[in-house]
Subunit: 320 residues, 2 copies
């Protein structure tokens, strides 16, 4: 934090004049280089010399020569003025290289939550003029990215087999056990619960569905009764009305929440079932935007999880 005015307001101009005079060895020539009069140059050099309390240029010789102090100033001033030019160039480049059109594929389960924040970020921080948002299944996003119909995907499937992409971790969430509020049976194991209630899960056409099915197979858990649905709200409705139990991540749960749904949430009695959300874009195309989107998404989703799922939701999400 800088104190109040510590730098001379006209310092840059004076340094420009000083460098021009130093390198031409003559007040008038230096001034001419900058399109100034000899008098203006003389005044700038005099002001610098007064400010620093020391002679910078020895005018008694031809060509004029830098003093010791003048040589020190020359070295430093050149570096600083170049840094300023670089800074100006960079900032103008940031502005000019802004993204005019952004096409984003968002996984359906988190699309509602993320849309407002994403639009604000893209427009305000990155000057994006046109935004196209597509909510859908994660499987579609790979093709959209590959065929350049989408520039960015926010997805639970990071397309690890696909090259030329940059990936930015959003968060990893564990699946929770979702029971009807009135469930009185055992919660020690999935088998015990399954004896009381059927499993309500996503269909095999969904990534979540396939992921859960695969994991349960690995656990040798083969439920007798299964209810399959394609939407989060269908799943949660069945559970809320006591028709079954389910396994959902916090974000899936939020996506399915409707008013007056009474559900009981527990940590899964088995480990290793989780879902990772990632922001994915083609490498280098969007500069800093994908990373910023990932950061914003995490922040936004965490807020919702705390608000709608509470402590148990918070504990089921990684903190990295």
């Amino acid at each position: 934090m800088l104190d109040r005015r510590t730098l001379s307001p006209g310092l840059i101009r004076s340094l420009e004049v000083f460098i021009a005079v130093a390198e031409t060895g003559q007040m008038r020539s230096g001034a001419k280089l900058l399109g100034l009069s000899q008098s203006a140059a003389s005044q700038h050099i005099a002001a610098l010399e007064k400010s620093f309390g020391t002679r910078l240029i020895d005018r008694s010789v031809r060509p004029a020569r830098l003093t010791h102090a003048g040589m020190r100033l020359h070295i430093r001033a050149q570096k600083i003025l170049h840094a300023l030019s670089d800074m100006e160039s960079e900032l103008r480049h940031v502005g000019q290289a802004s993204i005019s059109l952004l096409r984003v594929g968002i996984q359906a389960s988190i699309a509602t939550t993320l849309t407002p924040s994403l639009v604000a970020l893209a427009q305000k921080d990155f000057g994006v003029e046109d935004i196209t948002l597509h909510a859908g299944q994660s499987g579609n996003h790979e093709q959209l990215l590959r065929t350049k119909q989408a520039d960015l995907a926010i997805t639970s499937n990071p397309f690890l087999d696909m090259d030329g992409l940059e990936r930015h971790h959003i968060l990893k969430e564990d699946y929770l056990l979702v029971l009807p509020a009135g469930y009185q049976g055992s919660t020690d194991s999935l088998e015990a619960i399954q004896r009381e209630l059927p499993l309500v899960r996503f269909g095999d056409t969904t990534n979540a569905g396939r992921q859960i099915a695969q994991h349960l197979r690995r656990l040798r858990f083969e439920p007798d009764r299964v209810i399959q649905a394609d939407r989060s709200s269908m799943v949660t409705s069945c559970v809320a009305t006591g028709q079954g139990f389910s396994l959902l991540t916090p974000t899936l749960l939020i996506d399915g929440l409707v008013e007056n749904m009474n559900l009981r949430l527990l940590k899964l009695p088995v480990v290793g079932l989780s879902r990772t959300l990632t922001a994915v874009a083609r490498e280098g195309e969007l500069q800093d935007l994908p990373a910023a989107v990932a950061k914003m998404s995490k922040h936004s989703l965490m807020d919702q999880i705390v608000r709608f799922v509470g402590e148990i939701g918070l504990k089921s999400v990684d903190r990295s």
Copy 2:
């Protein structure tokens, strides 16, 4: 070399305002930090945003937040403003730390040559107000430095056994064979010459005298007839009048030159006889001045050698 005006004249002030606003998160607070009105701050930020063609601060949130471009600018601006502050501090320090009194011991043989240039350098480039110059034998200078009666010595004896000194090489000059212009004898060896003329050399009370005596002893050269003198001009007078021959460095020769002296100069028929001149000061006391003095001394002495000794003198001096 910078082109004509490429940097905005008010850029520094605008950057100071930008940083203050960025770090307080509020236009009015940032302005207050710099003792400005809210309106002035608003105008500076607007000017920057117009210049760069992009939004730098998002005012719609509380506290105000930097855009992506704003964050880039913040990083760069802080570095540059700190560099400017450092530069101003350094330049003011150079001025304030100028040396008010400088006491220099110069070897007698080069004192006349160096005095004008040394005084100019010290006053013009280093702002030295009072200069005391002492011409004398190099043996004295060690004591003057040790007892702080002198700050700088320009000498042929670098006091290698004394710690806490900084040394700056000026030049190394080989001894030349100095003969009467009318000498007709052999110049193949010192023995041959000695058969014709006595050796005229500095007395053992001088560093040059001791150095030459020591070296001749190493060569097993023991002249029958020796003329000893304490001053260069005595030596050169004897030689010029045909009374003897001598061994002198270019600077010693110049020191002894008087009008209408006809001397014949030859490269010595033996090797390894040379003298090194060094600028010596107590470590760190005089900052950059000793190095500058050494550089100026070399330049000055080289000019004199070329002028009074010519090509053979130039060839007998190192070029490093």
